[in-house]
Amino acid sequence: MSDQNNNSIAFVATETIPESPPPARETGVVKWMRENLFSSIPNSILTIVSLLLIYSVLKNTLPWIVNGLWTTSSLAECREILDGTTGACFSVLTERWNQLIYGFKYPVEEYWRPNVAFVLMLIAIAPVLFFDLPRKLLIFTALYPFVAFWLIWGGTILGPLVALIGFVVAGAFFQKFGRNNFALGFFGAVIIALIVWSVGGAMIPEGASDNALLPAVPSRDLGGFMLNMMLGLTCVSLSVPLGIALALGRQSDMPLIKGICVVFIEFVRGVPLITLLFVASVMLSYFFPPEATVDLFLRVVIMITLFSAAYIAEVVRGGLAALPKGQYEAADSLGLDYPQAMRLIILPQALKISIPGIVNVAVGLFKDTTLVSVISMFDLVGMIRGPILASTEWNGVYWELFGFAAALFFVVCYGISQYSQWLERKLHKGH
C-alpha cells in the first residue's frame, strides 16, 4: 500500500517550512498606523488635517514658551531683551507671584500662615478622599476648620475656641440623647450650641485681638488664588450637609416641608450665580439687623453655599431615587424609625451613588468662584484684571497671566475629576 502511494505522488514535503515573518504592513507601527490613522480616505484626510493643526499650534506656541523671560522687571524691559523675536514675558509671574497667590493686601510677613493652612488642608482632606487611611485622622479633619480660621484670619484664639467648644458640647449632647430620640437630641444640641456661643462670645474681652499671637487680618485683605481656594473649600464643605437636608426634605411626605425645599431648590437653580452674588454684595446687608456688620466674604460664602446646596440636593436626590425600594421597605420592616433608617441604611448607600455627582458640583463650584471678581473681590482673575494689568509695568501682558490662571485651574479641576473617576471605579462593585 505505502509503496503504491509513494510512487503515485510526485512530491511530498518531509519537513515543515520555517515560519516567515508577517508582511511588513501587518505588523508593528505600520499596522497600527494603517488601522488607526489611515484606515480609509476620509480618515486619512482627518489625520493630515489634525497633524497640520497640531503643527501650526506648536509652531506658534513653542518658541514663545522656550524664549520666555523669567527675570525682567517690566514689560518694556522684556520687549527690549527680546528685540522683536517671539517670546513670552513670564517674569510677570515671578515678580507678581505673591499678588497672584495671596492678593495685594495680605501682610507679607504673614504669608507663612496661609501656607501652613494649605499644607494642613492636604492632611485634613486626605482621610475624606481616601477611605483606606486610618479613621483616627478624621479627628484632625474635624479640628481643621478652626485651626485654619485662626491661621488665616489671626486675632484672638478665643473666637475659634468658643466655636469649637460649642460644637463639642452639642456633639456630646447629641451622642447622649440623639440615639433614642433624634428630634430631642438634634434640637437640644442646636440650642445648647447657641447658648455656648452667645455666652462664650460675650466672655471674649473687647480688644482681645489687639495683642494676639497672630495679628488679625481683616477678610477684605484676602485675595488671589488663596481666595478662590478658601471660597471653594468652605462653600463645598458647608453645602454638602445642607444639600443632603434639602434632598431629604424634598423626598419628605410632609407637604409643607417638601414645598419649602422644592421652591428653594428650583428658585436657586433657576437664577445665575451672578445675581446671587449681586444679592450678597448690594442686597443682603438690608436683611441683617441694622447694628450688625457682616463682611462681604461671609455674605458671599452664604450665597455660594446656598447656591451649591441646591445643586448638591439634586444630585443626592438622584442617589436616593436610584436606591431600590426594597431598601426602604427593609429598613421599615426592621422597625427602624426615620432618622435611624436614613442614618444606617439609606444615606450610606445613596451618598455612595452620589459621590461622583457631588464631586462634579464641587469642580463646577470651584470654577465659579472666579465670578466674585465681578463684584470687585480680588480673587485670581480679579487680581489679574485689576491691579496687575492696570499697573504701568505689566500693562499688556495678557497671555502669560491668563495662561497661568487657566493652567492653575486646569491642574486643580482635572485632578479632582480624575480622583472622581478613580473613586467611581473603586466604588463600583460590579453588581
Binding site: 416641608i257 470654577k367 485651574f409
Partner: protein
C-alpha cells in the same frame, strides 16, 4: 361568633404629638411653618428698619425715568433719553440673542466633538479628548476674558486697513475683522412690498414657514403612497422646488441687495456690526458648553448597545437609515435631558456678559441702572424674576420635546 371587641379608645395625650406617627408629621409641619414665618418676619422687619434708616422705599417708578446711558449693541431703537425699562428691554433681547446663538453653535461643536471622540482615528479622538478636558476644567469666565482680549488687543484697528500698503485687508472684500467688532454685509430690500423693513422680513419668514409646511404635506403624501403601494415616489425635486421657487421669486420681486461695510473716515460704515463683547461671549460660551455637550453626546451614543446596529443591519437597512431610524432616536433619549440643562447653563452663564461689557440684562438692569438709581433690591429682584422665567420656559419647552421622544411604556 366573633368576639372581637374594639380596642379601648385612647384619649388624646400631649406626648402623642411627638410619639405618635399619626400626629408627628403635623407637629413638625407646624414647627416648620412657625419657624418660616418667624424667619420671614425677622428678615422683613430688618429690611423695613434698614430702608427707613437709609431713607429708601421700594418703588419701581425709576423704570420710567430716562436712562441716560448709551448701548452700542442693540436690537431695538434706543437712545440715552429712553427709559430704564427700555434699557432693560434692550438687555433682555441681547440676552436672548446671545443665548440663542450660543445654544446653536454649542450644539454643533458638541455633536461634532462628541462623534469625533468616538472615531476610530486615534489622533482625532485624542485631540477631541484634549479639547473636552481643557475646556471643561477651566472657568468659563477666563475663556470669555481670553477671547475678549483676542478681539480687542490682537485684531487690527480700522486705521490699519487704510492706505495703499495697509497691514490688514478685508476678507473677500466682504468681512472686516477689527478691534472694534466684526463687520459683515447686511441684506436689504430695494423695493420691498412694505415700507417697513421689519414687515418685509416677516413676509420672508412667512414664506419660509409656508414652504416648510408644504414640504411636510408632500412628505406625508409620499408616505401614504408608500403605505398603499409599497413604492415611495421621489420627493426630493418637488421639495427642492417648493423651497426655492417662492423664495427666489420673492427675493427677485423685492430686489435683494447687500450693503457691504466700507472704511469711511476713522471707522467702518455700513453692514452689520457684531461687537467684540458679543463675539467673545458667544464664542466662549459655545466652546465651553460644547465640551460638556460633547461628553453628553458621547455617553448617549455609547448607551445604544451594539446589538441594535447589528439587528438593524440584519434587517437590511442601509447605514444611513440605521443611524436615522435606530441609533439616533435611542441616543437622543439619553442625550436630550442633559442637553436641556446645558441650554439652561448657557442662558445663566450669559450673565457673565457684565465682565466684558456686553449689554445684556445683567449689565443694563443689574449693572448701570442699579448703579445710577441705587435701587438695588428692585433691580436684583427683577433680574432674578427674568432669569427664573427664562429657565422655567426653557425647561418647559424642552420637557414637552423630551416627552415626545420618550420611550412609550405600556
Amino acid at each position: 361568633m366573633t368576639t372581637l371587641t374594639d380596642p379601648p379608645k385612647e384619649s388624646f395625650r400631649l406626648s402623642m404629638l411627638i410619639n405618635d406617627t399619626r400626629y408627628r408629621s403635623l407637629t413638625f409641619q407646624a414647627i416648620a411653618a412657625v419657624a418660616l414665618a418667624l424667619a420671614i418676619w425677622y428678615l422683613g422687619n430688618n429690611l423695613i428698619q434698614n430702608l427707613r434708616a437709609a431713607g429708601l422705599n421700594i418703588s419701581y417708578s425709576f423704570l420710567g425715568d430716562p436712562a441716560g446711558y448709551d448701548i452700542n449693541q442693540r436690537l431695538v431703537e434706543y437712545d440715552s433719553q429712553s427709559s430704564h425699562a427700555r434699557a432693560a428691554l434692550v438687555g433682555v433681547l441681547n440676552t436672548i440673542l446671545v443665548a440663542f446663538l450660543a445654544c446653536v453653535t454649542a450644539t454643533i461643536f458638541g455633536v461634532i466633538a462628541g462623534v469625533l471622540r468616538l472615531s476610530n482615528n486615534w489622533i482625532v479622538s485624542k485631540l477631541m479628548a484634549i479639547y473636552v478636558e481643557i475646556f471643561r476644567n477651566i472657568p468659563v469666565l477666563i475663556w470669555i476674558i481670553i477671547i475678549f482680549t483676542i478681539m480687542t488687543a490682537v485684531m487690527p484697528g480700522p486705521r490699519e486697513f487704510r492706505g495703499d500698503n495697509a497691514t490688514s485687508s478685508m476678507v473677500l472684500d466682504l468681512f472686516a475683522f477689527t478691534n472694534r467688532g466684526v463687520y459683515i454685509p447686511m441684506p436689504f430690500f430695494e423695493n420691498g412690498l412694505f415700507g417697513n423693513a421689519t414687515l418685509n422680513w416677516i413676509l420672508v419668514l412667512l414664506v419660509a414657514a409656508g414652504a416648510w409646511y408644504a414640504v411636510r404635506m408632500n412628505n406625508a403624501r409620499a408616505a401614504n403612497v408608500q403605505a398603499e403601494t409599497g413604492v415611495r415616489p421621489k420627493t426630493i425635486w418637488v421639495n427642492l422646488a417648493i423651497w426655492l421657487v417662492p423664495f427666489v421669486a420673492l427675493m427677485f420681486i423685492m430686489g435683494l441687495a447687500w450693503e457691504v461695510p466700507e472704511l469711511k473716515g476713522f471707522n467702518f460704515k455700513g453692514g452689520i456690526k457684531v461687537g467684540g463683547p458679543l463675539i467673545a461671549l458667544w464664542f466662549a460660551l459655545s466652546i465651553y458648553t460644547g465640551a460638556f455637550i460633547a461628553e453628553n453626546v458621547r455617553a448617549g451614543i455609547q448607551a445604544v448597545s451594539k446589538g441594535q446596529t447589528e439587528a438593524a443591519s440584519a434587517l437590511g437597512l442601509r447605514p444611513r437609515r440605521v443611524m436615522n431610524l435606530v441609533i439616533l432616536p435611542q441616543a437622543l433619549r439619553v442625550i436630550i435631558p442633559p442637553l436641556i440643562s446645558q441650554y439652561l447653563n448657557i442662558t445663566k452663564n450669559s450673565s457673565l456678559a457684565i465682565a466684558v461689557g456686553y449689554a445684556d440684562i445683567t449689565a443694563t438692569l443689574g449693572g448701570i441702572t442699579l448703579n445710577q438709581t441705587g435701587r438695588a433690591i428692585e433691580c436684583v429682584l427683577l433680574l432674578m424674576l427674568f432669569y427664573l422665567t427664562a429657565s422655567l420656559l426653557i425647561s418647559m419647552a424642552m420637557n414637552v420635546y423630551n416627552a415626545s421622544v420618550k420611550l412609550k411604556e405600556r
